[in-house]
């Protein structure tokens, strides 16, 4: 009966009535089924309406879409998604790590000579150092209240499960958007696409419509003239282009490496309170200035399409940020971990400062970057015009901010709270800056496809980097001996070993011990798993190749039949 109801919920009204009539059952039973399926349908509708009512910032989203089109809107959708993501992380960490501790011991044990002075909000040191903000504020005891709550295990498993969930969420959302956006799209044809499906019906603003029309006209004219000029490049010109590309790649990579190296030397001078702000300040300054420098390159480089140009710019920026973050992580793992007694909290503070200073620079960036160039463009140099909203750069900034939170999750479990505030303010800030200072992007690329590539290109290195950093910390580094939940252990992971040893004495839990010893700790298991995954991947790859050939054949057939 349940299957029947499930089936009927999906049908339309008329089909449902007919299907119920056709059932070989008594009148009473049919009536019952009809009521049930109606009830479920109603429930579905009300859930849908409730979800719509709860949707955050609906009106603002509509306004942005109406003035700037879908591609700019996608930035704001992404920002909202990140905000939700951080609310989730905050709830997980707060619920499983902080609340039990606060229930057990509500007052932070702050030494009497430490007081709140205000500078802590920027530096994250001092007063905060003794609260639950950082790793150091958590105890290693088993809290005995209504139930026994092992803090060590809770801390380890919360972080581990959180990281795994993040990874799964990312992989699934990426796979879904790859499936819909990438596989189907072909890069070869452009003209037909530009005309038949490029109009953005959600734009409602009169000026935006006019602007879009003229942009589209320019693009069409360009694409027509490009087609005519395509084969006119000589060998020497090609060589020149290649030389310029090589030069700018070398220069940008050199710059990224140079930035990383200088950060490493700067880290050595990190001393007391206010001085600690120097490193985050320089890091954020580099993140602001060097990309501007990169974007000057395109004046000399000639890319065949705009998309390649954007991708080149994004890859260079990713290299820069990766090298800076990589150097910082290296410094934390190798120098800070050996030098300080409570080094996890030190790293947590450093990350806190990075997050805060990055936020300040984001605000300054939208003020100077967008407001000032608007003033210059409208008053002083009308040639430059009103600035465009640079989606690629802004998305990259968001992902960088999120990476900081991921790295910090182990060292400062409440960092997502700061992140929530940051993204919330950023949403309004960007919205105001956008509507006051910017014009819609002149070229409308394939937003969805580019978005997918961004997520793949950016999330993969950044998330995997953050994950490996946290994993390395918990597997290979010795936790500090004076503070934190893991004091006295050789490494964080051995908390699982201790737990398993305890479990062995409890009858009925032998299977957990068996799994731990024969699956998690055995190399053979991982070897086999890797082998099987490789084989499956090879088979799937072959299947896709076969399908590609088949699609080509079918296409050929269509043309043959119709000619």
């Amino acid at each position: 009966e349940q299957d029947l109801v499930k089936e009927f919920v999906a049908l339309s009204t008329r089909d449902r009535i007919r299907a119920i009539r056709d059932l070989p059952m008594s009148f009473e039973e049919k009536k019952h089924i009809r009521l049930l399926s109606q009830f479920f349908r109603r429930c579905g509708y009300s859930i849908r309406s409730a979800r719509q009512t709860l949707e955050l910032w609906q009106g603002i989203m509509k306004e942005i879409g109406g003035k700037f089109g879908t591609s700019v809107l996608s930035y704001f959708v992404f920002l909202k998604w990140l905000l939700m993501f951080n609310i989730f992380s905050f709830l997980v960490n707060f619920g499983f790590i902080t609340i039990p501790l606060l229930v057990y011991d509500p007052l932070p044990n702050i030494p009497p000579n430490v007081s709140f002075r205000g500078l802590e909000i920027l530096t994250g040191a001092g007063y905060f150092n003794h609260t639950v903000m950082y790793y150091g504020g958590y105890s290693n005891e088993t809290l005995v209240g209504l139930v026994e709550y092992n803090m060590q295990l809770a801390y380890f498993f919360t972080i581990a499960v959180y990281m795994v969930l993040c990874g799964l969420a990312l992989i699934f959302s990426m796979a879904r958007s790859f499936k819909t956006n990438y596989v189907l799209a072909e890069s070869t044809s452009n003209g037909a696409w530009q005309l038949l499906c490029s109009w953005d019906f959600s734009i409602t603003n009169e000026r935006a419509v006019r602007q879009r029309k003229s942009n589209l006209r320019v693009q069409l004219k360009e694409s027509l003239s490009e087609k005519a000029q395509m084969e006119l490049l000589t060998l020497s010109e090609k060589l020149k282009h290649f030389g310029v590309h090589l030069g700018s790649w070398l220069l940008s990579t050199g710059l990224a490496v140079g930035c990383g190296a200088s950060i490493y030397y700067l880290c050595q001078y990190e001393q007391q309170e206010a001085e600690t702000l120097l490193v985050p300040f320089v890091v954020s300054l580099m993140n602001l200035v060097v990309p501007l420098f990169y974007s000057l390159f395109y004046k000399f480089e000639h890319y065949s399409s705009q998309r390649t140009q954007i991708y080149a710019l994004v890859v260079r920026n990713v290299l820069l940020r990766m090298s800076i973050l990589g150097v910082l992580c290296f410094y934390w793992m190798n120098v800070v971990a050996k030098k300080f007694s409570c080094w996890e909290s030190r790293v947590g503070q450093a990350l806190y400062r990075l997050v805060i200073v990055d936020f300040l620079f984001l605000m300054l960036g939208s003020f100077f970057g967008e407001f000032l160039s608007n003033v210059i463009g409208t008053r002083l140099l009308p040639r430059l015009g009103v600035p465009e909203f640079d989606i690629a750069r802004n998305v990259l900034e968001l992902i960088y901010a999120q990476t900081l939170a991921w790295i910090g999750i182990y060292f400062s479990p409440l960092l997502p709270a700061i992140q929530i505030v940051k993204f919330f303010i950023l949403f309004y800030l960007k919205k105001v800056s956008l509507t006051q200072n910017c014009q819609p992007p002149r070229r409308t690329g394939r937003a969805a496809q580019m978005h997918t590539t961004f997520i793949a290109l950016l999330f993969f290195p950044f998330f995997v980097g953050a994950l490996s950093m946290v994993a390395y910390t918990s597997w290979s580094l010795t936790p500090s001996e004076q503070c934190g939940p893991f004091r006295g252990l050789n490494n964080t992971f051995s908390v699982v070993g201790v737990w398993i040893d305890d479990l062995e004495e409890i009858p009925g839990s032998q299977w957990v011990v068996w799994i731990y010893q024969h699956v998690i700790r055995s190399e053979l298991f991982y070897f086999l798993i890797t082998l099987i995954i490789l084989v499956i991947m090879y088979i799937f790859w072959q299947v896709t190749q076969g399908r590609k050939d088949l699609i080509g054949l079918l296409r050929q057939q269509i043309v043959n039949v119709s000619v």
């Binding site: 009204t13 819909t180 037909a192 006209r217």
Partner: protein
């Protein structure tokens, strides 16, 4: 909110919910906006048609270059004057809503672009389409030569059976390769 809900009636509301992709709030909002377009006398009559000119005063449609075509496609009026009843209006919003399928959207997009309503996009339709997209005045238009080149490019790319026109399935084939279409073919009240 309470008065509009009672005006629409619970049965009618659930019927609209079953027949469109809209949620309850969207239908109520549509009803509110639609009744605002009616004059005082018309409010008492059931199933009033609102003439196209008055529909086009809605800010969501006002600056859309395809606004007249949209009204014509969704109008069920026999005189083909583009006037809409409330149910036509819901139909329109449903096709342009977030949850409408790609199939529905591409079907209506094809009909909107088919200016002479003959079931295929021929070079005349494409020319009008280009003019709608780039602006209709003389100084914004493409030259005759550019237009000819452009249309032959489009047909070369999308006219698979080489009959000189783009038919619905060829159109849907082009659309299916453009994932942005679903998000940009959208009008929300």
């Amino acid at each position: 909110m309470g008065t509009t809900a009672s005006q629409l009636g619970k049965d009618l509301l659930s019927e609209y919910q079953e027949l469109t992709f809209l949620t309850k709030q969207e239908i109520l909002l549509a009803h509110k906006r639609f009744t605002e377009l009616l004059t005082k006398d018309e409010k008492d009559l059931p199933n009033t048609r609102v003439p196209m000119e008055r529909i086009l005063t809605l800010p969501e449609l006002k600056s859309n270059p395809f606004r007249r075509r949209i009204c014509h496609v969704f109008s069920t009026c026999e005189q083909k004057d583009g006037s809409l009843t409330f149910e036509d209006f819901l139909d329109l919003l449903s096709a342009f809503s977030d949850s409408a399928t790609l199939e529905i959207k591409s079907h209506y997009a094809f009909r909107i672009f088919d200016f002479d309503d003959d079931g295929t996009l021929d070079s005349g339709d494409l020319e009008k389409l280009v003019n709608c997209l780039t602006g209709e005045t003389d100084d914004t238009r493409l030259t005759v030569e550019e237009m000819r080149q452009l249309i032959s490019n489009i047909l070369e790319e999308s006219d698979i059976d080489k009959d000189g026109t783009v038919n619905l399935s060829e159109f849907q084939h082009v659309i299916s390769r453009s994932p942005d279409f679903v998000s940009s073919f959208k009008i929300v009240l």
